[in-house]
């Protein structure tokens, strides 16, 4: 569904991605793990169009999308939930959700909003409240729900559990499973390595701008290097 080939992205003179290739099959969950500064966020932002790669290709459903502006890529069905609960703090919960449907012009928006509020009852309860008044976990739920309002085929999640309490983290992972079960493909960037690998079918390990390891998540969980560096075992 999504094919990233030999992508190189720069921040000014600094090369953040040094030839990264990632493949996300339809209806899968793929996770990307790695330390701070490995290039995980850069990779997601490159896919979503917020950054343009200097070389390499990104194709989605067989069509090249690298270099397109973010709103075009969103319209093709890739939605990004940015790092750090990027919600619109001074708009209400309902307005935040409406903003998520900004690129849509079809009449199904109201029905989708109802469906999402069924899935996230807390958002229905708080729909008139300002986004900034929600708790951290609720804000993350809102950010995910807002991305879903564009009815994406591929959802990019950038560290959705960052800074959240363990109970809330499990809730987020439950939500990711539900979204996947409902038919949306998910590309997940996480530092919560163990849970990310458990939820995904396939994992890529990113280190200083390069993929150093990849494969089925179940196999990588047994891989000694992963155990030592990321799971604190052995």
């Amino acid at each position: 569904m999504l094919e990233v080939r030999e992508v190189e992205t720069f921040h000014g003179d600094i090369q953040a991605l040094k030839g990264v290739s990632v493949s996300v099959p339809e209806k899968s969950i793929v996770s990307i793990i790695g330390a701070n500064g490995a290039g995980k966020t850069t990779l997601l932002r490159t896919i979503a169009g917020a950054l343009a790669p200097r070389s390499g290709t990104v194709s989605f459903l067989g069509e090249p999308i690298a270099g397109l502006p973010p709103h075009r890529i969103l319209r093709r069905g890739i939605a990004l939930v940015p790092e750090g609960r990027a919600i619109l703090a001074r708009l209400t919960v309902r307005e935040n959700l409406e903003m998520g449907a900004f690129v849509r012009k079809d009449p199904g928006v109201a029905a989708d909003m109802e469906r999402l509020m069924d899935r996230f009852p807390i958002l229905r309860e708080r729909q008139g409240q300002l986004g900034g008044s929600l708790s951290g976990g609720e804000q993350q739920m809102l950010a995910i729900a807002r991305a879903l309002m564009s009815s994406p085929r591929l959802l990019l999640l950038d560290e959705p559990t960052l800074g959240l309490a363990p109970l809330v983290v499990s809730e987020i992972f439950r939500t990711i499973r539900q979204i996947h079960a409902a038919g949306t493909t998910v590309l997940l960037v996480e530092q919560n390595v163990k849970q990310a690998m458990k939820v995904s079918s396939c994992t890529y390990v990113l280190e200083t701008g390069r993929i150093v390891l990849s494969g089925p998540s179940a196999e990588l969980l047994e891989e000694p290097r992963i155990k030592a560096s990321y799971l604190g075992q052995g």
């Binding site: 917020a50 502006p69 709103h71 939930v81 708009l91 307005e95 903003m99 900004f102 807002r146 564009s150």
Partner: protein, 315 residues
């Protein structure tokens, strides 16, 4: 002759207040996307000079000249906006202030077109033109008990009132549309707005050129009100004056700069009796605002309070 309470001087002050209200709206529109532009004095100059030249050199009718003045400034806004909007915050403020000064330098030095530092005089004044048209049509102001200068003052006042009112109304309503929502989202969080699929650059340039167009429109009205323009009307003093409308009145809601513009234009008149201390009082007022209302006099909670109070009064 004529009712004495209609004072042409007071009408003129009120007319300038309406022009300043339009300038207040012009800075608000760019602020609504979180961009501080200090170039509006320059764009006002473009509108003023365009309207002045079109009417004095090419005999263009005043209303058409005013519309074209706004459009020229809007186009200049797009040209300045596209490169400048790569910047933000103080960098954008300095870049736009600079582009305003560049414009002023062009006005001073392109003497063959602009008359240089002397400026352009004898621009048709809209009130006078209206009076002569009225006389041609056989209407004499005396018949309704007005002196000539009272008629001129009132007609300019009414024209500018309608222009300012329409500008405020248009942008109040814009706030509730898709475009207004996009502006609000960009102001709150550009990355979140981008992730929601809003073409951020497009809307920033749109807001910037809307602000420029409004400033140009105000400038064109100014030219046909004072009938004289010179580069010194559009220096950075004017840019700061426009900024103060928003700082004093409040920049969180459109009515903030509108109130600031109207109030601060009238204030010097109210302080005439203590004219020696006028600047001191003006300064003290600004300092007090910064201390007690750093967000400006009008902000959304206060406006919501007014709305509640009015509803209660009706019930």
């Amino acid at each position: 002759m004529g009712p004495e309470w209609i004072n042409p001087y007071h009408l003129q002050v009120a007319s300038f207040a309406f022009i300043n209200v339009i300038l207040g709206v012009s800075i608000y529109v760019t602020l609504a996307t979180g961009q501080l532009s200090l170039g509006n004095a320059g764009f006002m100059g473009i509108g003023a000079y365009a309207a002045a030249l079109l009417s004095t050199r090419y005999g263009c009718p005043i209303p058409a000249g005013i519309v074209l003045g706004g459009l020229f400034a809007g186009i200049a806004g797009i040209l300045v906006g596209i490169p400048s909007l790569r910047l933000s915050g103080v960098y954008l403020a300095i870049a736009t202030l600079g582009s305003g000064e560049v414009l002023r330098a062009v006005l001073v030095n392109w003497e063959s077109l602009t008359g240089g530092a002397v400026g352009i005089a004898a621009i048709p004044q809209m009130g006078r033109v209206l009076l002569s048209r009225a006389r041609e049509a056989g209407f004499a102001p005396e018949s309704i008990g007005l002196r000539n200068n009272q008629f001129i003052g009132i007609s300019v006042f009414l024209i500018l009132f309608v222009c300012a009112f329409l500008a405020v109304l248009f942008f109040l309503r814009l706030g509730r549309t898709r475009v207004g929502r996009a502006y609000a989202a960009i102001k709150l969080d550009e990355k979140a707005a981008e992730a929601a699929g809003i073409p951020v650059t497009y809307y920033k340039v749109l807001a910037f050129s809307q602000g420029a167009m409004l400033a140009g429109f105000a400038g064109a009205l100014y030219a046909h009100t004072t009938s004289f323009v010179s580069p010194s009307d559009f220096t950075y003093h004017r840019a700061v004056e426009i900024l103060v409308f928003a700082v004093f009145g409040g920049s969180e809601h459109l009515l903030g700069p509108v109130f600031g513009a109207a109030f601060l234009t009238m204030l010097p008149e109210a302080l005439r009796s203590v004219s020696d201390y006028r600047d001191i009082l003006y300064g003290i007022l600004l300092v007090l605002t910064m201390v007690f209302r750093p967000q400006g006099v009008l902000d959304p909670p206060l406006l919501r309070g007014f709305a509640r109070f009015r509803r209660k009064g009706k019930a």
